[in-house]
Symmetry: C2
Subunit: 426 residues, 2 copies
Amino acid sequence: MRHPSLKTGQKLVVIVGGGFAGLNAAKALAGQPQVHVVLVDQRNHHLFQPLLYQVATAGLNPSEIAVPIRAQFSEYENIEVHLDRVLSVDLKRKTVQSDIAELDYDYLVLACGAQHSYFAHPEWEPFAPGLKTLEQATEIRRRILLAFEQAENETDLEKQKHLLNFVVVGGGPTGVELAGAIAEISRTVLVSDFKNVRPESARVILVEAGPRVLASFAEDLSARALKDLESIGVEVMLSSRVEHIDATGVQVGNKLIHSQSVFWAAGVQATKMKISPEVAHDRAGRVNVGKDFSIPGYEDSFVIGDMAAFELPQGGTMPGLAPAAIQAGKHTAANILSSIAGQPREDFVYFDKGQMATIGKNKAVAESGSLKMTGILAWFAWLFVHIFYLIGFKNRVSVMGQWAWSYLFSKRGSRLITERDWKLKP
Amino acid sequence: MRHPSLKTGQKLVVIVGGGFAGLNAAKALAGQPQVHVVLVDQRNHHLFQPLLYQVATAGLNPSEIAVPIRAQFSEYENIEVHLDRVLSVDLKRKTVQSDIAELDYDYLVLACGAQHSYFAHPEWEPFAPGLKTLEQATEIRRRILLAFEQAENETDLEKQKHLLNFVVVGGGPTGVELAGAIAEISRTVLVSDFKNVRPESARVILVEAGPRVLASFAEDLSARALKDLESIGVEVMLSSRVEHIDATGVQVGNKLIHSQSVFWAAGVQATKMKISPEVAHDRAGRVNVGKDFSIPGYEDSFVIGDMAAFELPQGGTMPGLAPAAIQAGKHTAANILSSIAGQPREDFVYFDKGQMATIGKNKAVAESGSLKMTGILAWFAWLFVHIFYLIGFKNRVSVMGQWAWSYLFSKRGSRLITERDWKLKP
């Protein structure tokens, strides 16, 4: 169906996904009279994923790292936001089918991001939730806080010990940040609140299959991160494979770790989308794209962000980082406008801003080009960058306030256990 | 079972419920060497219920009106907090049975509060959730925001109109505050964000069975509240009985209002608890108590707060207000200490601080003794009182910040739709 709001001469751009990539593509097209944009997302909010682990560890509120997508486009008549789910894409007919409508597009931007991959063991998921959505973050928060509460009530000392075992699978930035934050709250925030258990006796175990944590960083930074993790009490198991996860705990190699608090930060795979005809993708399910992010053979259909496998000239593919997704979104929007104007497109050139990860208070590692930082300096750089990239003045002020308060008083502002299996009955 | 932490000569006080009544009873016993207190609640947080409607209407975050119960007692060795559920009470044997243990008490304080009553129509509940817990508040928020999102996507104009019908059942303070806040966000906050619907065309309908709203207030204040509600666009239906509620909407008298956003603020009943032998209670399920809140015949077992029917000397029973519950909690703690010291107990004398309700920005009604306030003055009094009674310095600062920001910019900080039927699959 032709879109009813489309004015004569206007092209319809359909963007699927309101993450860093899709949101920035839409922003770059906002107010451009030659296009009308329909931005579709299953959620009403854009999520600042890099701080999701802070919601999971009771440091921040969900609303402090999420903003309503439509509120970003209030003043732009040419951007429509739909809370809707795209079911399939037909590249030849140039249509997308969603829960509520079929739309003919002139240009398509797929930016649906990535999800957790359990390496062919989807049955592990209920016992080891990942950290990609706000609901998952509040669920992880619920499990962490509930484990301490149950340990407080437990009279069997062996069971009490098991309740205080926390296992994080995956030593990338998310795993490192999550493990660090769990160790930190058990050793500072919760220490004085329990009478029968000593929260600081909690074991936090980080399991990594490879030989070092933060494998995408330089080796000396990995070593520093390992040292920092151990200094705050995280037990790091390197070159250790998870064989099995169930309600009892995790089997690592031939060792069983009893735990009901296992969290998954290991693999990711691109979000699946029914595209016809089928398109080529890599092992992680990411769609192979050309130098302008278009799908080979379908120059008006683009895939960007974590859903795309974009080959870098120096080898390898573009990493799944927020700055990369932002650049891809802006670049694609510019190319769409060029095409409409009858001008040639430009190939994308990735500008690597570097990467950073925080381990705990005053502890972080960061690298950008040949510049490397560790310790308190890296930690302040991390703080600054994350507050700077948060969307919305109010969220910035609010997060700064929460962090200042946590830093000074070693408290956490959001220690709520809310029900997962909540029914309407109170 | 005798409590293992009980020291020689110490009496065990079991308090069930961490609302205003139970929390204040425990606070008054904190640090008193003659008692050891076990405070049991099904939730890990104390909830500031008077502001729950603000969470439901995206004005505040859940954590801003809730504090972990155990964090209130970190420094007191004689207070133990248990996340646990009390199943039954045996008044003769003086034991409580919970999910995890059986405890012999010396003194018992039941303070389990109240829940919604659907007047023998429990089947209405899924279609008309009430507002007593954080989960219910985020569910109501989800339904309100989702209704606007669905209306934006709806092409059938009749259906679109139905989606924008919001019905609040019950004209007491909660109903009035909720209806006022829904009208306010649809007319200010959401106005600029939608392209296909005009949020200000939303109908907000308040249905009250009696002849006036805020029936517990003076008549002229009820009239003023009615005028204020109508001035911000709430349609108030007085002397109107709800006959039926289902997925289609609400049947009021012989009129059907199509709506999938119906919220219940009508009746409450005391939380049920298995007490043996059976105790006398009133029609709302509240336990009849003596002048010191003890259960007649069992002088060491008390019932306080919304769960108790305490007769006032001037007739009627003590109202279900926070200040009343706080007074009851403190008084009961003092009487327990008197009894331990072998001194006589004092009868409780209720000090009526008055009541207040807010209708919207700059609009409220308040009365205290012969003093009556309306308009902006009452509204500022309402703000002041609610911030003053919030627990925790940080929450006070945070709520003040949110309110200042909402007041100045007509925005809401917490417009998140999170999933109710959330499974672990993203």
